[in-house]
């Protein structure tokens, strides 16, 4: 029983530290979002510069969601990663096809 509470304390501590990381992740995501909206709202960048930058910001945010909020960085997520990356690959092909090789 004593042993049990000990491990519980240990896990609680672990969870707490994990939660701190999550908060940092969240803060970063919010900052990224604000930057993205600022870029567009202020009109400070040309289209050619703004669009790739917006996409990069979005991709980083999404990676944070997957790896931190959804725990893909943890152990036991190998098969999960395979399927998500598979889906992403199929998604990239689909979007590329529909934006590049449909003639008008």
């Amino acid at each position: 029983m004593v042993n049990n509470t000990k491990t519980n304390d240990f896990h609680k501590q672990q969870n707490k530290e994990e939660m701190k990381k999550q908060l940092i992740t969240f803060a970063t995501m919010i900052i990224f979002t604000i930057i993205a909206f600022l870029i567009v709202g202020s009109g400070m960048m040309s289209k050619m510069l703004a669009i790739p930058l917006l996409l990069v910001l979005a991709l980083v945010q999404v990676a944070f969601q997957f790896y931190y909020f959804m725990h893909m960085k943890d152990k036991g997520h190998e098969m999960v990663a395979v399927m998500i990356y598979g889906g992403v690959w199929a998604a990239v092909l689909t979007v590329a096809a529909l934006s590049l090789i449909i003639w008008w």
């Binding site: 098969m79 399927m83 598979g86 889906g87 690959w89 199929a90 092909l93 689909t94 096809a97 529909l98 090789i101 449909i102 003639w103 008008w104």
Partner: protein
């Protein structure tokens, strides 16, 4: 003991059992019955097509009905015959092969089946008011402007059954990842289980594109949106892309399980370990991977430009490499083997040359420049029937003969089996070989009539004669199934001296599959034990309580709800009365989901004592 009870049970009890079952073996059988029924229907449609084309300017069926026939034949055969027959085999065999007591989501498995069945019924109900007539590919704007409700039935039928297939795919994936028996590593899985895994991945990534495509078509036809309406800025090519992003992986979803089946059969009846197992696994994965990047080869003549066409042409030809690896591995498995030739083996042996012809014409049509000549001609028709009939249908028939003892406790009659094989095999080549030449002579596909004195008469006549041979073969197979059920003795366990785990299961297969999960010590798990003189699997666990899922009627009712809602969607364009069906059906389905969510379903346990008693 249990069979005696089964025979006494009333029809209603059996019906209720099948309506509520979540047992993967029974669901497998249901898939086979459903898929078999639609296969006969699709075959009948094919026969009508061939009779219409037996002579020049025939008027056996009208032009409109002919369009409906070709559309329904293609749609039915791909979505409602080949797919469910393969899913049925996977359901019945794959969990046994990997040493699992059940699939990961038995409830979802049942739901997948009922969605498929109701989707198939939905599609075929359209015969009453006018079937879809825009081809199985339903290209826009032909499909958006097709009058009546035919294409609406196509959309809803495929949408409902597609959802079921997606569920089936996820279910198989999780089963294989999480529920393999102790010692069954990925690289010890039999090829059929491997191909099940790989095609489930393909289902997972390919079907959503179809789902979206069908939604867009549905919105255009029923709710006035403008995706494909050029006047409002729509674009027809979107449909072609979405359809083929799904459609090309789909053909690999069909053929890869057949590859798995042949790998099992060749190894078993050549009494040899499968040659190049590792290469076979990686070839399968490579085919799946490449199969995702070649869809635009169906669209060479659309005008995507020479660069795009070249990229897709080369990617397509690359698939011939892993496929070639497989062909050579099968040949080398046979080489020097102690070969038994029976019906299952005949279908498998016939597959190799037939499929290779289809593969070679595949490389021909992949040559994008030459494809302008082949496109939409009978050459293409011949090509895809060589791969789909020569590959998938032969595979399904081989698998049925091979696994019939596990699924139905009978060995199919060999004489009838051989008769069916030879007539079907000869009929198949009669029907389709000549079509290559008809295509090269300029006969376009999907045409209702052709004119005489254009050199097409004899070829079409021969083709139709072949279709009758194939019909005869199918009927003999059906007769064989009934005959063996009534006249043959129950099959022994492991009649073929098998190599893989499914042959280590007691007959009749208990509903929990394995009393004790087996310990797998290598590839061809059972064969290893046989070679070491054990003859049976070593258990990996002591006899203990077995956890089993409860049966449920909810999957049936939920699917029925979507089925009813489908009619609502179709007819709300005509009458407001249909909204009752739409909302009523959706309500039924959603309430079923809610019940499923709220009502705890812990399943039940078969206790150790019961298990020990059953053994006596």
């Amino acid at each position: 003991m249990s069979t005696a009870i089964a025979q006494k049970r009333s029809f209603a009890a059996v019906l209720w059992d099948y309506l509520t079952t979540v047992d993967h073996k029974k669901i497998g059988k249901l898939y086979l019955y459903g898929g078999g029924f639609f296969f006969l229907l699709g075959g009948l449609e094919a026969l009508f097509i061939r009779i219409q084309l037996i002579k020049p300017e025939n008027d056996f069926i009208s032009a409109g009905l002919y369009n409906e026939m070709i559309t329904m034949h293609g749609t039915t055969m791909i979505f409602f015959a080949a797919m469910p027959l393969l899913l049925g085999l996977m359901n019945a065999i794959m969990p046994l092969q990997i040493g699992a007591r059940d699939v990961a989501f038995p409830f979802v498995n049942a739901l997948g089946f009922w969605l498929f069945l109701f989707g198939g019924i939905m599609l075929n109900v359209s015969w009453i008011t006018g079937a879809p007539d825009a081809g199985w590919t339903a290209y826009t704007p032909l499909s958006t402007s097709s009058p009546g409700h035919g294409v609406d039935y196509y959309v809803l039928g495929l949408q409902i059954s597609g959802a079921g297939t997606l569920m089936g795919g996820i279910n198989f994936l999780v089963t294989i990842v999480n529920m393999r028996a102790p010692g069954m590593t990925y690289m010890r899985m039999p090829l059929f289980s491997w191909t099940t895994f790989v095609i489930s991945v393909l289902i997972l990534f390919a079907f959503p594109a179809l789902t979206v495509g069908l939604f867009l078509l549905m919105f255009d036809r029923m709710f006035g949106s403008a995706f494909f309406d050029v006047a409002l800025g729509g674009n027809s090519i979107i449909w072609q892309h979405l359809f083929w992003i799904f459609g090309h992986p789909e053909v690999y979803i069909l053929i890869l399980p057949a590859f798995g089946i042949f790998s099992e059969i060749f190894a078993t009846f050549a009494k040899k370990r499968l040659f190049g197992y590792t290469a076979m696994v990686f070839a399968t994965i490579l085919i799946a991977f490449l199969g995702f990047m070649v869809w635009a080869h169906h669209m060479f003549t659309v005008g995507m430009g020479p660069v795009t066409n070249s990229i897709f042409a080369i990617a397509t030809m690359a698939i011939a490499v892993p496929t070639g690896i497989k062909i050579f591995n099968w040949l080398l498995t046979l080489w020097g083997g102690n070969i038994t030739i029976n019906s299952a083996m005949l279908w498998s042996l016939a597959f190799i040359p037939s499929f290779t012809i289809g593969g070679m014409t595949g490389v021909m049509v992949a040559t994008s420049v030459a494809d302008y000549q082949y496109h939409d001609s009978y050459f293409v028709v011949a090509h895809f029937h060589y791969v789909i009939v020569g590959g998938v249908v032969f595979g399904i028939l081989a698998a049925l003969h091979y696994w019939w003892p596990i699924m139905f406790r009978r060995i199919l009659n060999e004489k009838l089996g051989k008769l069916a094989f030879w007539t079907f095999f000869i009929g198949f080549h009669l029907t389709f070989f000549i079509q290559h030449f008809l295509g090269l002579m300029g006969m376009p596909r999907r045409y209702w009539v052709f004119l005489e004195h254009q050199g097409l008469d004899m070829g079409n006549f021969i083709s139709t004669i072949g279709a009758f041979f194939m019909t005869f073969g199918v009927l003999v197979f059906l007769y064989n199934a009934i005959y063996s059920w009534l006249k043959e003795e129950p099959a022994p366990q492991d009649p073929w001296d098998g190599r893989t785990l499914e042959w280590a299961v007691a007959q009749p297969v208990p509903h929990y599959n394995f009393k004790q999960l087996p310990l797998v010590r290598g590839l061809d798990a059972l064969w290893i034990e046989k070679m070491e003189g054990n003859g049976k699997m070593t258990p990996a666990e002591p006899v203990g309580d077995i956890h089993m899922p409860n049966g449920s009627i909810l999957p049936f009712i939920m699917s029925l709800g979507f089925f009813i809602a489908g009619f609502g969607f179709i007819y709300q364009t005509d009458t407001d009365f249909a909204y009752i069906l739409l909302f009523g059906g959706m309500a039924i389905a959603l309430i079923c989901m809610l019940i499923r969510s709220l009502k705890d379903d812990h399943g039940y346990h078969i206790t150790k004592e019961e298990l020990e008693k059953e053994a006596d």
